[in-house]
């Protein structure tokens, strides 16, 4: 199969003159990548799996003792960890839903012939080109109750966006929506422009209403590509660290990635944090799998 796809090496090329064949060249390209992947990804992954069953602490010289499933048991019995999980779930839900609504809405608005469409689209993509930490620092200033521009424009006085325990998570989700809705918009726009125009013409002839056209034509045809956007955003939102870490240190905004960081690099509970990372990994894989199954179903339709 691969040999059919692969373009044969030109016998007159310099590579051929040096005695290289296409198989050697293929290996030259692939092997470094695979070695890199094994050394920096697969090996640590397996190594940390081993650590997750020990009480190892990287900060001491004490040998690692095998403790079986103790770390997993402790973590799953810790009410604070469960709180971190429920906060994360809430955050993913708010943030991804918001991004899909805003992103898809923007795409609908842009999916028509308007002047300077290219420029507008490019400008809208700017937020997602910024660094997360920079966005976090900027929004911290924007949200500031004493001199922040948001309260000024909304006339909210000294409203404490990031200090209010009930509001802080929403405030972070708003920033995430601002930053990543353009990503959903971009993918949706690609999906929308691929919808055949004749379907709309047929619907118009049949005097279908705009709601009917949207739910029966637009949405089903854009759904697969929208699902891909949702998968990406869910995985990213699930492991959000920088935005929340920079913006707020409320216990109500302590996402799992932040708790994991603290456990691994401030408390140096290496074994315990490896177990924690595995729990998170299993969850992300499970959620992604559900999405992929659903995506395949949508595509099959």
């Amino acid at each position: 199969m691969p040999s059919e796809v692969m373009i044969r090496l030109d016998p007159k090329s310099r590579a051929a003159a040096k005695g290289l064949n296409d198989l050697t060249i293929r290996n030259l390209f692939i092997i470094p990548t695979i070695v890199f992947l094994i050394v920096f990804n697969i090996f640590p992954l397996l190594y940390s799996l081993g650590y997750s069953f020990t009480d190892f602490r990287a900060s001491t010289n004490a040998p690692a003792n095998f403790v079986g499933l103790q770390n997993y048991r402790d973590l799953l019995n810790d009410p604070f960890i469960w709180k971190n999980f429920s906060i994360t779930a809430k955050y993913v839900l708010i943030s991804v839903t918001g991004q899909v609504i805003v992103g898809f809405g923007l795409a609908m608005l842009l999916n028509r012939s308007i002047p300077a469409k290219g420029l507008i689209t490019t400008l809208m993509l700017l937020p997602m080109m910024l660094s997360m930490a920079v966005v976090g620092l900027f929004w911290k200033l924007l949200y500031d109750p004493n001199f922040g521009i948001i309260n000024y424009f909304l006339g909210l006085g000294k409203f404490e966006w990031l200090a209010d325990p009930d509001m802080a998570l929403y405030a972070i989700a708003i920033v995430d929506i601002w930053m990543w809705a353009p990503f959903v918009m971009l993918l949706s726009l690609a999906g929308l422009s691929a919808v055949p125009k004749h379907l709309y013409e047929a619907a118009e002839i049949d005097r279908a209403g705009s709601f009917y056209t949207f739910f029966r034509i637009t949405l089903p045809l854009v759904a697969p590509i929208l699902m891909i956007a949702i998968i990406f955003r869910t995985m990213e939102a699930f492991k959000t660290f920088d935005l929340a870490y920079v913006l707020s240190s409320q216990p109500n905004t302590e996402l799992i990635a932040i708790r994991l960081y603290k456990m691994a690099f401030q408390e140096w509970q290496t074994g315990m944090s490896s177990a924690f990372a595995y729990i998170v990994l299993i969850m992300v894989v499970a959620i992604t799998n559900i999405y992929v199954k659903y995506l395949n179903k949508v595509k099959a339709r």
Binding site: S59, N146, K158, E160, A163, P165, P251, N252, E267, Q269
Partner: protein, 436 residues
Amino acid sequence: MRTTLNGMLAGVAFGAISASSALAEDLVIFWAEWDPANYLQELVNEYEEETGISVTVETTPWSDFQTKAFTEFNARGSAYDMIVGDSQWLGAASEGSHYVEMTDFFAKHGVADIMAPATVKYYAEYPGNSKRYWAIPAEGDAVGWSYRKDWFEDPAEMAAFKTKYGYDLAPPATWAQMTDIAEFFHRPDEDRYGIAIYTDNSYDAMVMGVENALFSYGAELGDFETYEVEGFVNSDKAVAALENYKKLYGFTPPGWAKTFFVENNQAITEGLVAMSMNYFAFFPALLNEATNPHAANTGFFANPAGPDGDQYAALGGQGISVIKYSENQEESMKFLEWFIKDETQKRWAELGGYTASAAVLESEEFRTATPYNEAFYQTMFKVKDFWAVPEFAELLTSANQRLYPFIIGDEGTAKETLGALAADWTATFKKYGRGQ
């Protein structure tokens, strides 16, 4: 072509050799990024003038100082020769044998007599009362208070205060007075607020703030020898102290939910509050007209006493330790011999460093040098610190998890909060087999 290449390689190799031989004479001290690190760089420049050995103070922001230092230790890295490490790291760094033991150095040079007793106890000794030492007290520090002299001395305010509370408005002598004053000046309509305290629940910021209340109320975190915490950290005195701290949070400016030394100095420079808690190390900036428009009107006082007259403050500050993986341990020891000399310590204080040298601290010259030195001198003889065990970060996490929701989120009662904290700490100590 080949000769050129060989020549180049030889050049590179020569360069590398000469660079490494030059490096062997250079010492690197690792510290957090703040003013005292700049003062230390100035001080060590004088060491270079004397000996020809250059010393560089390398810094990183406070927020990742601990992480970066321990990452380097855990990797057995030799990037740094010495580190000005936090007092609570002593347990982790000595038990992990990342620090070179300095007990012999202490005996040989009588360091325990040169430095103020509290600094030797908290910056150098581990385990407690073991007479084993791991660091040379370098930057003495504790939490103190700055206040707005012009607000306190305004005749109209003084009269109004006296009428309302029945005593004269002055820098508070007790926590009760401090709470009254905070309440008195808390006027959100005028964009004036009572007090600035630490509320950041990452690392030890808020815990340090709470400790100031706890210690002055006569409470303890636990028994440092038996690791018993039940009945200490949740004693009635501790409960009253925490309630008082939460009450003060009610008189802070809006959005005061993640604040540490930067915000607390800003509270004074922006003219927001009447009083502000902070480490002494940050006070020089408050006397600088360039950074504080209210510099002329800023005064300082030591952490006030509790209801029973106990008066303590939470300890900041650090000692210098030699890192086990350094290739220049001998040179580092020589440097430390120079560092503990009286004249070096005097110079250190002049440059803005907070010396731990008892002789310098007690000298009239030092105590009158700045408006806050007297408060610093008084404080350094009555300081207490957090646990220094290797698992201190876990203890801090539980403290943050329990204290923050009560102080800022208004959840539960002080008694429940500290009861839960005592249970968490007991479980942690049990996990590591302490006090069994």
